[in-house]
Symmetry: C2
């Protein structure tokens, strides 16, 4: 993308309304624009990251054997009367009346609707196990929306629902979600720690939240800091293998890690003092096993092997897709701007032309741009007629992890400069070498 | 995808509520489920097609130089009061009041909001031309929603908005949209004819609708039937070349083609009688040039080269993404089910195992499945323990364009059968040849 033809409205000033760094940088980097309290437009750069995050979530859900569908944003109120939850959400639920006077609502979550889909079409244990999920806009009418996309009213969420014949099978689904979530967050460059949580209005016996450590987090967290060193890495997971999946979950949950809601000070004392940490965390996901809480009142049953009709065992599992942008920035920035992890960056690399209009510089930039594109990498090429300082400031603010700087002086020696946004380190090399290096960095990302 | 692990709830009976074939087949093929009048869930198979269509729309918009972003579903009413359109939509606009008593609405279109984004960030002619678009759920509270996704209340639409310095530049944007739309529809296997249209509540001098011929269409159309033979094909379009783009538009609009709203019987008489046709059409898109209709009242101005502040010239351009599924089925089906064009099919090919449990048949199917996947083609493998007739009926209903049939008898001779859903023709060949043939069919699709 040539910046001269893009729409990247960066702001020079810090917006007064933004209290936390991710909100500030998202506004300044031209990623979002507020349209009403807690309701945002995703400007082109923000939309690119949102799509990238959405894509990673899709890929990891499909890898775990979960099946995507899409439920609508609006739901009939009657479904919620059936489950008995119509009152539970109180004023946070956005209630709507249509032109015929029918009660509707903007879905804050989808347990009722997915249960309705299930009971309409599934009736035999032979169709289980089944996990369906979607990524869709939700609405919660928060009293005080704030922190930008971290606590918006209209937000994008992945919510998945498993339907299983018994508790053991449902707990395997729970574990499968935990592992797929760990991989999802790792691909985004995040360390998200599963912590035992309280259940809230979704209900359920087992539930874990995933928290990203950040000073601006809404939850106080208590943990053994060895948990932050755990990595899934590239290990091969067979999501059908109950034993293997359970073992990974054990590995990631055996060290102490809890939010203030479930914190147990006595147990915490058993953590060696050198590893005992208290901090703050941002919730980026939560998984629940809730048994027959929805299947019983709503009649989601199947006929089992013995010919008996039994309610299914279910769970629901959510990832806050739009909120993740904020969480990633909170976890990865400096005082000049965002530092995108390679997995989610809007563009893999930026090209800065130090002297727009200089024949050699322009040609070298065009050459780099095309060579990168031929490798499947779309660079953001700053081809504006601006001074170098302004171009560097923009690149630092928007946070592309790699930058190639091209100027007449370097070109006279046959080199361009490749700079890491994270370390600030630069290296001179030929344009071809720079393309090869960037391509190698993104291989398998 | 193995059908035994998928969620494909096909219906044996014709649903009573479905009056037109696309609605009937979408329900029977397990693509959608109605959740309220005009509000649907997209079950896994339907969601796959929806995503595929969305992807094609994105690709062709980006190819034309248009920039994607994403505006929210809910909008503040004040924006619409500013443009003076708050009343225009009447009861079709879904009005909502939030917990703080603020007036909101579920966006039926986005002229106001995109103009607000533009005026907040753009102030110089140097930032033009600019075309921004998004693909987002919209809501229109139709009195009588019907025909499935063809006339739903919650529907997915691509809407794009151009901002240009003067009328000529804006008309080029209009033409660019026409050409990119033609290519979009062709990739979906559709012949969509641009017809001069009336403008309705969007307003504007120039407007064309794109209509797909189908007996169930909502509009009566009058046309010279030579228009249906026009194809863009693979010709190379430079979307910056005003002359080339205008010429393509001329080619596709010079033959008579109008809806009942703009029909001119006298002019129609000049069409040679052999080519004069009256039929029905489904609207799948519309483009508008509306000049300064929104920029003036809403203050979307830029400073021009002479230093004067002038309102921009705009247009808006829509494609009915979710409705396209219905239109494609109306245009491409037979009495056994859907016939998906290759460009939008949920799976490129189906594999039918005639004798599940037979060692050789199972192994051959697995081999085909993996060999296709290695070519980037995800087959739908019917591995259920069902009789052949039921498997064929399901494949015909869901309409994958190609089917590979595998049975012990053929395998004894080293062959499987490749069948075209459209022609019904079958050919025997080795499994390797079948994979190569299918891969060749999808090359470049």
């Amino acid at each position: 993308m040539r910046l001269s033809r893009y729409f990247l409205p960066v702001l020079k000033e810090n917006p007064a309304e933004a209290q936390i760094v991710s909100h500030r940088y998202m506004l300044r980097a031209g990623m979002i624009k507020q349209q009403a309290a807690g309701i945002y437009s995703w400007l082109p750069m923000g939309f690119r990251v949102l799509r990238r995050i959405e894509e990673i979530v899709h890929q990891e859900q499909v890898r775990a054997g979960h099946i995507p569908l899409l439920m609508p944003t609006l739901q009939p109120a009657d479904l919620w009367r059936e489950s008995g939850r119509y009152g539970d959400y109180g004023e946070e639920m956005l209630r709507i009346r249509d032109r015929h006077g029918r009660d509707m609502l903007y879905g804050p979550t989808n347990e009722e609707m997915i249960t309705d889909i299930f009971r309409s079409h599934v009736s035999s244990y032979k169709d289980l196990p089944l996990t369906l999920y979607h990524i869709q806009w939700k609405f919660r009418d928060e009293v005080r929306p704030r922190f930008g996309v971290m606590r918006g009213r209209e937000f994008l969420m992945k919510d998945g629902y498993n339907f299983d014949i018994d508790k053991d099978a449902a707990l395997h689904a729970y574990n499968r979600h935990m592992v797929s979530y760990l991989r999802t967050y790792e691909r985004m460059g995040l360390t998200a720690i599963p912590m035992r949580a309280a259940s809230g209005p979704i209900g359920g016996d087992n539930t874990h939240e995933f928290l990203v450590l950040a000073n601006t987090g809404e939850s106080e967290v208590f943990y053994d800091d060895r948990v932050t060193a755990l990595k899934l890495g590239k290990r091969d997971i067979d999501y059908d293998d109950r034993g293997q999946v359970a073992k990974v979950c054990e590995e990631f949950t055996e060290l102490y890690a809890r939010t203030d809601e479930t914190h147990d000070p006595v147990m915490f004392e058993t953590v060696p003092e050198a590893h005992r940490k208290v901090g703050r965390g941002i919730e980026v996901g939560q998984i629940f096993y809730f048994g027959t809480k929805y299947s019983e009142p709503m009649g989601a049953t199947v006929v089992n092997e013995k010919g008996e009709r039994v309610p299914i065992h279910g769970g629901s599992h959510g990832i806050g897709v739009s909120r993740l942008l904020g969480a990633i920035i909170e976890a990865s920035h400096d005082d000049r701007g965002i530092i995108w992890p390679e997995g989610v960056t809007p563009f893999p690399v930026g090209i800065v032309n130090l002297k727009q209009g200089d024949g050699a510089a322009d040609a070298a930039c065009e050459g780099l741009y095309k060579a990168l594109r031929a490798k499947g990498l779309e660079a953001l090429y700053d081809d504006r007629d601006e001074r170098a300082g302004a171009k560097f400031a923009t690149m630092d603010l928007i946070g592309l992890p790699w930058r190639i700087t091209v100027g007449p002086r370097g070109l006279a020696n046959g080199v361009v400069e490749l700079t890491s946004r994270r370390t600030g380190e630069s290296e001179e090399m030929s344009p071809e070498a720079a393309v090869a290096r960037v391509a190698a960095i993104y291989e398998g990302v």
